[in-house]
């Protein structure tokens, strides 16, 4: 069954990026279905990062590949128009998912018969103020729970469209991105939200990760390998630091319940590591992880072309439909887990969820004609066509 999937995989690009992106999309589905036991196995339980960081970085990487080449061929205006079109698609997808979410909350609340002890959980602002809620949702100022990644992605792409002329000058691009990041963190630059002070993901902070992805995609791999070479001692140190963070995080979260008390200053510091503004500790974790993975998993690793990796590679290559499907499917998963969180239901939700995501990837690849293109071994290895 996996062989036909493998035949749909587009050759000629860095399959590591697609594989990890596919994995991140699956993790996003898992993390969006609370009560899912697999949720305790994802990155966020052991590191200052989760699938969102990987998704944003790799979205930047894919955008750098696809639009960078287009920029060289067709110029800024045409490329910016394409990016803007992509934004429009994402916006429509977001509004669709918003409607689905609202329907799901309404359904759950009705099924629950408005239990008195939940009266504080005004999770459905449509009940209070439907017209305002609709307007705020259209303005992206109202983002319900679990619907905050797409608005971030939309704004990141819009900012990227404006920054396109700088793509050929990576140092200037990085400089602007870092300046914006600093402004977001220290001057409080943020986008306003309805009923809370600002967006959950601050695009002015998160754009740095996206731009780093763009710059990495545009850089010559040989130059990158020379600039950031493998160093065994450094790698051991990095792994030790990541392990120490994993231990410290779990000590703070779960230690006290078992009688192990972390030092107060450590817990106080962990409390300051925010996700909203992409805390430097989170940024550093992603960059260290990228360096480790880039060296430990070679681009030509046979595993990546194996049929077991194919479903994830395919999902990563068809990331937009798979991402939207994963959010929509997570609604169903949440309804199912709300009804029962027994082992049978957990297994069903996870298996059906993954199968459906792969199916969406397969259909998207086939529909866009990728599968009908014969894989030609003469294609140059290295950055090929890519879709952000």
């Amino acid at each position: 069954m996996l062989r036909p999937i493998a035949s749909l995989v587009r050759p000629g690009r860095d399959l590591r990026v697609d594989f990890i992106r596919g994995l991140a999309l699956w993790f996003i589905f898992i993390d969006h279905t609370p009560g899912n036991l697999l949720g305790s196995l994802t990155l966020r339980n052991v590191a200052f990062m989760d699938a969102t960081e990987a998704f944003v970085l790799l979205a930047g990487f894919a955008s750098g590949l696809a639009y960078g080449r287009m920029l060289e061929r067709e110029g800024w205006a045409s490329t910016a128009a394409r990016v803007a079109g992509r934004c429009g698609t994402l916006y429509v997808a977001h509004i669709f998912l918003f409607v689905v979410f609202t329907a799901q909350v309404g359904f759950s609340a009705a099924a629950l018969d408005q239990a008195a002890y939940l009266d504080e959980l005004a999770l459905d602002p449509f009940g209070d103020d439907p017209y305002r809620a609709m307007l705020e949702a259209l303005l992206l100022r109202y983002q319900p729970h679990f619907l905050d990644i797409l608005p971030l992605y939309i704004v990141l792409l819009a900012m990227f469209a404006v920054a396109l002329p700088l793509v050929r000058r990576p140092l200037a691009l990085l400089g602007v991105a870092v300046a914006l990041y600093l402004a977001a963190r220290w001057l409080g630059l943020a986008l306003p939200a309805w009923r809370r002070s600002a967006w959950f993901f601050n695009p002015f902070a998160w754009q740095l990760l996206f731009i780093i992805g763009v710059v990495l995609a545009r850089a010559d791999p040989a130059w990158l390998a020379k600039r950031f070479p493998w160093h065994r001692g450094l790698a051991v140190l990095a792994i030790l630091v990541l392990a120490a963070v994993a231990v410290a995080l779990n000590l703070v979260w779960h230690g006290p319940a078992r009688g192990w008390y972390p030092p107060e200053p450590l817990a106080a510091w962990v409390a300051t590591v925010d996700k909203t503004g992409l805390h430097p500790a989170r940024l550093a974790t992603v960059l260290v992880a990228v360096w480790l993975v880039a060296h430990l998993l070679p681009a030509q690793a046979r595993f990546l072309t194996s049929r077991w990796a194919a479903p994830f590679v395919l999902m990563g290559q068809q990331s937009l439909p798979v991402f939207c499907a994963s959010i929509a499917l997570s609604f169903l998963g949440r309804l199912a887990l709300e009804a029962s969180d027994g082992v049978a239901m957990l297994a069903a939700v996870n298996l059906a969820g993954l199968a459906a995501l792969v199916a969406v990837g397969v259909v998207a690849a086939w529909y866009s004609g990728e599968g009908r293109r014969k894989p030609t071994p003469s294609l140059p290895a290295g950055p090929g066509t890519a879709t952000p």
């Binding site: 609370p34 009560g35 949720g39 799901q104 909350v105 759950s108 609340a109 629950l112 018969d113 239990a115 008195a116 002890y117 939940l118 009266d119 504080e120 959980l121 005004a122 999770l123 983002q143 319900p144 729970h145 679990f146 009923r195 809370r196 002070s197 959950f200 703070v252 979260w253 779960h254 230690g255 006290p256 319940a257 078992r258 009688g259 008390y261 972390p262 107060e264 450590l266 817990a267 106080a268 962990v270 409390a271 300051t272 925010d274 996700k275 909203t276 949440r334 309804l335 887990l337 709300e338 969180d341």
Partner: protein, 259 residues
């Protein structure tokens, strides 16, 4: 009693006699059937409560409770059935000769920031030995920044320590477990942040979430699935159970200080 560890803890707590209190003040070990709501061991691991310990030794225990709807009413039949009132009754019964006073603040829809203001205003007057702060529900439901919630806790805890030193113990209580809540709000980050806030401010976390989830898992108590006509009765039972475990948690904390 389904959980042997909890049974052991309860037995320990029942046999407790803080020093400085005449033997006659402590009750003999009598387990009442209504109290049997076994708690998982990890929900019960209390650290020493020096403020409460000293207060009990002096014969007067003042407890300040701040929280939102699930503390003020929680769908119970009357205020007397809510967990803070039940806690007062149980502690008074168990600590004979100690005057136990519980005062409740907050209310429906109040946030951690509201609570912090209440604490800043009322704590100097009340001079509580124990502050039980129930929070997180409103933040998680409205998607308010989790970091601001823990900032509020840490600042309030720092102020308490500055004015009261070791005289006031702080216990944080997290949200009620609910499948609906878990499915429709991103609750996990708030649970994590409450654990972090407790660890960062020298407070203890009393995990009502873990406790209620345990009772749902073993099919002992499930408020969400209670039929409409039984809902008040089940809410009363739930609050009685929470008060029971909390009583044992506090007595255990005193015992640990004694050791």
């Amino acid at each position: 009693m389904r959980n042997p560890a909890a049974a052991l803890l309860l037995a320990l707590a029942l046999g407790l006699t803080p020093p400085g209190i005449p033997e006659s003040r402590a009750q003999p070990a009598v387990a009442q059937p209504a109290d049997v709501c076994a708690a998982p061991a990890e929900a019960m691991d209390a650290a020493p409560l020096p403020g409460v310990f000293a207060a009990v030794a002096r014969g007067e225990l003042r407890i300040m409770v701040v929280g939102s709807a699930s503390t003020a009413s929680g769908g119970t039949s009357s205020t007397a059935a809510t967990w803070p009132r039940q806690l007062q009754a149980r502690l008074a019964a168990r600590l004979q000769g100690v005057m136990v006073r519980v005062e409740v603040f907050g209310g429906r829809g109040t946030t951690a920031a509201d609570h912090a203001r209440i604490i800043a205003g009322e704590a100097p007057r009340l001079r509580p030995h124990l502050l039980i702060w129930q929070l997180g529900t409103v933040e998680a439901a409205r998607g308010l920044p989790a970091e601001e919630m823990s900032d509020a806790v840490q600042e309030a805890a720092a102020r308490l320590t500055a004015t009261r030193g070791e005289l006031t113990d702080l216990v944080l209580m997290d949200m009620q477990f609910s499948r609906f809540f878990r499915a429709n709000a991103n609750v996990e980050p708030y649970l994590d942040q409450l654990r972090i806030a407790a660890a960062a401010s020298g407070a203890q976390l009393f995990s009502r979430w873990a406790l209620m989830k345990h009772w749902v898992d073993i099919e002992r108590l499930d408020l969400e699935r209670a039929p409409r006509d039984r809902r008040k009765a089940v809410a009363d039972e739930l609050h009685a159970c929470i008060a029971g475990v909390l009583t044992a948690f506090i007595l255990d904390g005193i015992e640990r200080d004694h050791r």
